[in-house]
Symmetry: D2
Subunit: 92 residues, 4 copies
């Protein structure tokens, strides 16, 4: 289902604002307000369910802190890269 | 609660893409895909409930056709202008 | 991708509150308020995108009128039955 | 705007599944799946914005861990009780 991430994947994440750790990647998205933040979360939620890969995310008001990891592979996978890129794109 | 719309209000709507009729205003928003369309609808839904003024809207895939009217005043009101402006802004 | 509906499918829809026509099925869902209606719509939206099959739906306040049809097959298909059942289930 | 919570408020929270601390209250909601969890979050989001009082919440798949506090009052307020009750009610 999911493929462990390689260096190219790590670079893709790192160069688009993600902090890449050994087994997970993190990024904090800050929006203008709660309305913008939650509209984005809804678009991301739809994409996540379609990918069958869900984020760990923490929201308070206009800030959303996301952690991506793939439990099946015990670390980062291509699904994390796909979801990260979708999140970046949707945050415009 | 709501104030009937005047000519300035009608002009505000008409010059931002709304088709203004006697008692309602309509606009069709088209997005890149369903994910974008529904994210926008969610942001709008949050604002609508806060205004205590809700749209009539029809969605299929990436298209959302909106009709605004105020039942209390039997026509267009300042609430329709506020919601229309919010919708325009969120469609960015 | 999608299979035209047979009589069993039509019966499944008809016995769960859907009005089944030649090429589409309709049902009107009424909730307690807008907050309940839109929460349901969001759950449905996530499922629809995952099925890659989207409803035509009209919302005003607590009412959502849904029309299901499958353009590929020029009528009702198994995807309409799946989405209808999901909508029924989520409306609890 | 907000009133510091009294013992009645603390009891209301404590008897409906919230862990009440000195300055915040926590509850973990677990749903059947992500679709249910996020539909609930959307309904809550609409209510939160209307109350102008937002949760701190962490979601992963079907679990949502909520922390409520009121920064203005430096602790729990009537707004936390209102939002907590709404969350309980929407979780059915």
């Amino acid at each position: 289902m999911s493929t462990p991430i390689d260096q190219t994947g790590r670079d893709t994440l790192a160069t688009s604002g993600w902090t890449v750790g050994e087994t997970s990647a993190e990024k904090t998205f800050v929006f203008a307000n709660f309305v913008d933040a939650f509209g984005w979360m809804t678009s991301v939620a739809i994409c996540a369910e379609k990918l069958n890969h869900h984020p760990e995310w923490f929201n308070v008001y206009k800030t959303v802190k996301v952690t991506l990891t793939t439990h099946d592979t015990g670390g980062l996978s291509d699904l994390d890269v796909k979801l990260a890129q979708k999140m970046n794109q949707l945050a415009g």
